[in-house]
Amino acid sequence: MGKRILVIDDEVMILDAIKIIFEDMGHTVEVRANSQAGLEEALRAEYDLVLVDLRMPGKNGAEITEELLKAKPHTRVLLITAYPNDPLVSRALGAGAHALLKKPFEIAKVLDFLEE
């Protein structure tokens, strides 16, 4: 059964590719290239999974995770980062992010969390 996925990433190419790939699997994928717009969408609608880039102009992934999980604590947030050593990783995980995806994304983890 298809799930609802929101992807917040400032790299449009990656957003487009993720949308194509996961829609082919039967899921509904919304994408936002702007961090603030992404947070607002995540707060506005219900998603089974929210993929958030850690480093973006405007709000970073840790801030989005904190604000989103404060308002909607049951949301599943997966962080996308090219730098697993980034100090923001610990902050976002501490805020309740469920997993870390290495950029551009890890298909196994996304499918794993969609199955749960």
């Binding site: 190419m13 990656i14 487009d16 590719a17 993720i18 194509i20 790939i21 082919d24 699997m25 697993p84 050593n85 990783v89 610990s90 995980l93 469920h98 997993a99 870390l100 551009p104 994304f105 890890e106 298909i107 196994a108 983890k109 499918l111 794993d112 969390f113 199955e115």
Partner: protein, 505 residues
């Protein structure tokens, strides 16, 4: 509880005392009988009663047959004072009455008769007949000689006494050496119960080992037909050909590509490839470029990769150290002193010695990781990924990369088709094929997810320190180490979806 002898003694005393009490109370001058107004006839009556006492009872033999009809026991009641002794005929009749005809123990019967008649005591539970169980038929089978079955490589690195120099993955055998002995066929034999009824025999199950390559029969034994490495895999006994390299693998040997096992007494020099169909033992350092073997790899020293070397092993890996290398193994990877800036992938566990370190790099171990120290105060990030099949994950990453490329191309084609309607006819086929390729890869990815073999019981255990910068994932659930910890077991709390830390001490 008194033994049989004690019981007989006590019984004898008791009976004697009873008679004595009666006799001692008798006054011959008295006109009154000690048992009342007795008469001669009454005395005779007493005597009769005495003769019919249940303790001595009427002499007889009673036979009981066990429920499984495999034994018969007898109780012997002794003869009274005036009765004739029990004899074999009494027993024969009792046995016959219960249909007992097989396995009669005449010796036990005679002994029982002797005791019961001489001591006038009751005996019970005397086994007087035994059935004979059937012997199963056993086909001839090969039995491996025990010294070839012992594990050649220690599995516990915590033993301080482990001598790396004595490690070898091989059971080396010489031509003519006995590998297994043929245990001959044993014919089945009917059994019989005590009633003389036949009991059919069955077939004993044996593991039927089969002779494999380089083995042959000599008399009643399977022997090695050549020098080599013995292996019992499944039900096949094999002697693998062994290639021995007296010195280094270098310009004198060139690259090695051998179908069997390889013993290298020197080093594997940088730039030289080794490919073995069996296991490899190397006495010194493996300066790995391209190294693969389908069996185990044991090196008494270590493995150097210089950042580009790769080692692929079908079995387990045992080394003193691993540095800057990619090492992939279907079995466990055991590193005694440490692993530096390397990528290890194991479908089993990654283990170090008690003071062994995992510093830098990425360690994937489906069943878990155990180390003396993880990371260092100055080291870069050390990633420890457990609970998943890292090889399946690699395939999924490959699919991801291909799908990204396909999706990016598809997006470009779609943009072109939208901008130039005239190009649609030409691009439609490309468009459809790209979509189909993405779909096919997605289907493969979803199939592969079933093979991730998540093991949520996997754990990371560090007996010494684990430093900030270490990153742990168990079944995709992350934990970033932000402070130095010591003696910790990291495991997955599946219900909470979090990594939990338990102190070891």
């Amino acid at each position: 509880m008194p033994s049989g002898k004690d019981f007989q003694l006590e019984d004898t005393i008791r009976r004697s005392m009873e008679i004595l009490q009666e006799v001692e109370g008798f006054d011959p001058s008295s006109s009154v009988s000690p048992v009342g107004q007795g008469t001669g006839g009454e005395v005779d009556g007493e005597l009769n009663a005495l003769q019919q006492e249940p303790a001595s009872g009427q002499a007889h033999v009673e036979v009981t047959v066990s429920r499984d009809l495999m034994s018969a026991t007898a109780s012997f009641m002794p003869p009274g004072a005036l009765e004739p002794p029990l004899d074999e005929e009494d027993v024969r009749r009792a046995l016959q009455a219960k249909g007992v005809s097989f396995g009669i123990d005449r010796k036990a019967i005679l002994e029982a008769l002797r005791d019961v008649n001489a001591q006038l005591v009751a005996l019970s539970g005397v086994i007087v007949a035994r059935g004979r169980p059937p012997s199963n038929e056993t086909a001839a089978f090969l039995q491996v000689v025990p010294e070839l079955l012992a594990d050649p490589v220690p599995t516990d690195l915590s033993e301080a006494s482990v001598d790396f120099k004595s490690w070898s993955p091989f059971r080396l055998v010489r031509a003519g050496q006995v590998l297994a002995r043929l245990v001959p066929k044993q014919e089945g034999e009917l059994g019989f119960n005590v009633r003389g009824e036949a009991i059919p025999f069955g077939q004993s199950e044996v593991v039927e080992l089969k002779p494999g390559p380089n083995t042959g029969f000599a008399d009643d034994a399977l022997v090695a037909l050549r020098d080599g490495h013995f292996e019992l895999r499944g039900d096949i006994l094999t002697v693998h050909e062994v290639l021995e390299v007296a010195g280094d693998v270098d310009y004198r040997t060139g690259h090695l590509d051998f179908p069997g096992d390889v013993v290298i007494h020197g080093e594997v020099k940088q730039g030289f490839q080794v490919k073995a169909g069996g296991s490899v033992f190397c006495a010194r350092v493996i300066d790995a470029t391209e190294f693969s073997c389908r069996g185990d790899l044991v090196t008494q020293q270590g493995i150097l990769g210089r950042g580009s070397g790769n080692v692929r092993v079908g079995g387990s890996v045992t080394a003193r150290f691993i540095e800057n290398c990619l090492v992939e193994a279907q079995g466990a990877i055991r590193v005694r002193t440490g692993c530096l800036n390397s990528v290890l992938r194991s479908l089993d566990r990654v283990l170090t010695g008690p003071k062994g370190m995992l510093v830098g790099g990425k360690i994937y171990a489906q069943e878990g990781i155990q180390a003396g120290q993880i990371g260092s105060p100055t080291s870069p990030r050390t990633e420890l990924i457990c609970g998943i099949n890292a090889f399946v994950q690699q395939k999924l990453l490959w699919i991801r990369d291909k799908n990204l490329a396909l999706a990016t191309r598809l997006k470009q084609v779609q943009a072109r088709m939208a901008a130039e309607p005239a190009s649609r006819v030409r691009l439609q086929d490309v468009h459809d094929r790209l979509r189909a390729a993405i779909h096919k890869l997605n289907e493969s990815a979803q199939e592969l997810m079933k093979e991730l073999d998540k093991n949520d019981k996997a754990f990371v255990l560090v007996t010494g320190k684990i430093y900030p910068g270490a990153y742990i994932e168990i079944c995709h659930v992350p934990f970033a180490v932000t402070e130095t910890l010591s003696g910790i077991r990291f495991s997955l709390d599946k219900r909470k979806g979090k990594i939990v830390l338990d102190p070891l001490f």
